[in-house]
């Protein structure tokens, strides 16, 4: 690599945003990076607003990736497990671990190959919002069902999703609601529902948590790990939640939560931090939250407001967020049309980079933002990128995107423009390969 003949001149573009840069920004933030077809479609739209609308109205993808065979059912009913001897248990646990890995790979393959990457990005958002971990849930089939739930509600209705999640088997296991019984309430789900899923700390008190927990008693599972409302375990008594009195069950409780102003604000703030900026802009968040509520928690109008807000589109906002491990790895592979890449290796890199898919560190999810990057992970990020551009691997990269005349006059300019979200002019190396390597190793490539 002939680094010495490359000079970077970093200049800030004072010109108003070009269409290309606006589209590239939107794709970088929402769609696991840029592909040739995605950016060309954007450039063909009437204007930016039309692009955002098209993004949100994505079709239901029909692109079956063969499902892992265990996704449809439990691998072994828990009762039978108890009858196994030590050797059989060992074999069973080994098989289950392999299936957990297979499920992670299946999802990564989906993220790599989908024609609607924004849907998968939203699934990942919900996975990080309504967190559950396969390490506790164990059964791959239940985690699969939960991701499918997120997929069907990806840009649907938050209120409906919340009603569904309190009956989701993986969630009920992850937050111990099976142990939440009339006589012995367990507050785990109740507490996280208020603190992390809906309202955020400071908008309710400990008494509310206890009452919410009571409303959730009896929301449990049957032996086959399907949702089951255990009537006898449910506390039908009167509860006082946020000052309102009634014999609330969990769904009535969820309706009360959705009536609280704090809920829309909290959820929009979470979207803000995922898509717009690490720094919340409270006035804008309030404005978008009121749109969210007015539309009865429909996600599309809220997301439209988010992606067209000037905080999002402002040129100074580009390249100010750190790509998550999934965005860096999967995004790079999509951009270079390397969707054939072994998903297992992607999974391992994501784990080493701190984003073990289906195993968030705790119920708060991945902290994200700048914390993705430390001395260890930055070296691993660069190792991944250099692995893609080493020797024979380089030949497998598809650079048609950079050579598309709609995008730039030269491949070097195309690559710099597409891959780095802050404007960079560079004197190219003798070989385009070397230019690409340098761009991918550039600190700005870590940003979106």
């Amino acid at each position: 690599m002939k680094r010495e003949i490359l000079f970077f001149l970093l200049l800030f573009s004072f010109a108003t945003a070009t269409e290309f840069e606006q589209c590239a920004h939107l794709l970088n933030r929402t769609s696991f990076g840029i592909t040739e077809s995605s950016i060309v479609s954007c450039l063909e739209d009437k204007n930016y607003e039309a692009t955002v609308k098209r993004l949100l109205d994505m079709p239901q993808a029909q692109e079956p990736i063969p499902l892992p065979d265990f996704a449809s059912g439990l691998i072994l009913p828990p009762k039978k497990f108890k009858k196994l001897n030590a050797e059989e248990r060992k074999a069973f646990n080994k098989k289950r671990r392999q299936q957990q890995i297979a499920l992670k790979q299946w999802w990564i393959k989906k993220m790599l190959t989908t024609s609607t990457p924004f849907r998968e990005r939203m699934v990942l958002f919900w996975h990080n919002h309504f967190t559950s971990s396969i390490r506790k849930v164990q059964q791959p089939a239940l985690m699969y069902r939960q991701i499918q739930l997120f997929r069907s509600y990806a840009v649907g209705n938050f209120a409906q999703l919340l009603h569904r999640i309190i009956e989701d088997p993986a969630m009920l296991i992850y937050l111990d609601n099976r142990a939440n019984r009339k006589k012995h309430p367990n507050e785990n789900l109740a507490r996280e529902l208020l603190e992390l899923f809906t309202m955020g700390e400071g908008h309710y008190n400990e008494k509310d948590i206890k009452e919410v927990a009571r409303s959730l008693t009896g929301y449990s599972l049957d032996k086959k790990r399907n949702f089951r409302f255990r009537k006898k375990q449910h506390d039908k008594g009167e509860k006082i939640i946020f000052g309102q009195k009634g014999n609330f069950d969990a769904h009535q409780m969820v309706d009360l939560v959705l009536e609280q102003n704090a809920t829309a604000i909290f959820v929009v703030r979470k979207f803000w931090k995922a898509f717009v900026s690490d720094d919340p802009h409270e006035q804008e968040i309030d404005r978008i939250a009121s749109i969210f509520r007015k539309n009865r928690y429909e996600l599309k109008p809220m997301l439209y407001a988010l992606f067209t807000s000037s905080s999002f589109t402002d040129p100074s906002n580009r390249g100010t967020m750190v790509k998550s491990p999934a965005e860096l790895t999967i995004g790079t592979l999509r951009t270079f049309n390397r969707t054939d890449f072994n998903p297992k290796i992607v999974m391992q890199y994501c784990r080493r980079l701190g984003q073990d898919i289906l195993s968030p560190p705790n119920v708060k999810g991945w902290p994200g933002g700048r914390e993705w990057i430390n001395a260890n992970t930055l070296l691993i990020r660069k190792e991944f990128l250099s692995r893609l551009t080493r020797g024979k691997e380089m030949e497998k990269l598809d650079d048609a995107l950079f050579r598309n005349p709609l995008i730039a006059d030269s491949p070097e300019e195309g690559a710099a423009k597409t891959l780095l979200s802050i404007r960079v002019f560079l004197t190219p190396a003798h070989r385009f390969d070397a230019t690409l390597q340098t761009i991918l190793q550039h600190p700005l490539y870590q940003l979106k």
Binding site: F7, L9, R89
Partner: protein, 381 residues
Amino acid sequence: MNRRTLLKWTALYAAALPFALYGKEAKGAKQRHLILIELKGGNDGLNTLVPYSDPLYYQLRPKISIPKKKLLPLDDSLALHPSMGATKKIYENGDMAIIQGVGYPDPNRSHFRSIEIWDTASGSNQYLDKGWLESLSPKEQAKLQAVILGGEYGPLSGAERGIIKINNIQGFLNQSRHIHAQIYMTGDNDALTHILKTEAEIRQSADILSRYFDKNRALPYPFAKGNFGRQLKVTAQLIRSGIDTPFFKLSLGSFDTHINQKPKQARLLKELSEGIAALRQNLIESGKWKDTVIMTYSEFGRRAAENASRGTDHGTAAPHFVTGGAIKGGLYGDQPPLEHLDKNGDLVYTTDFRSLYRTISEDWLRNSSMHLSGFDKLPLF
């Protein structure tokens, strides 16, 4: 509304470093080192430090208890696991403190949550973001604060400066060559600033390591092959080199012995025990042993009664080992009584792990900034 101003960029080529990297090296005071060894998966304490005079021990564990005649007795009620002969020797030399029944109230039996509690020195229902050593790591720029050789950042999570995770020194030096800190910038893109600082960190750490590290210098006492032996070897190389890094974190495991525990735990405890002994020899030889403390920790101990698979399930309190040239050896704390198990059938802790942390931070690291004053110190020094 937009707080961001325009970014101002300047390109700098070649080796100009973004900020002053080296402070003055401290003279006089010797650097103290703390080596943490995480026993990953939850080490079974009852078969590590065995209450062999208690018939209940043999009743609770008909299949996996260790026969009296095989044990290495420390006194007339407690004995070490048969594969811990090397530890017993250190104990007899007076450098090994064994703290019994280390745990915390309202124990959590999830690996992930419980190690988080230990790593952040939190209470059982308290959620903290940063590792307990993070606040203890000095903020001087010119120093490599911590080297993570095994497992996660754990007790150092949240530390931003001077911390690296490496497999071997040469590998890290090779990788870091690809990092070229070439951009000087002002402006308020915090994310980019963070990346540039991290790049500078890597270069700085590599510079420090390459100044100290001499790959041709052999160690007088060899380590066993394997992952843990490698971690110990790098630790020994670095401390012997005179590097002023306070923290090293190692990891051994998995101790999660639900099934057929005996052979697995025996192998791991042998690795641990002989590894610590070899590290001690190397550090004594180079005059660094009195500046070093080694401490083990683990997310939990294991259930007092064995399970049906000749193993043990997740439990609570367990003994831990603290050794070093400055340590007053001996047994500390009390053995949790087997006749008073909690409702889960688990040991009830007798020493809060935060007592141990407070002792280390105040009496070894000379730092009292941790808010652990509610926990009594142990007279280890």
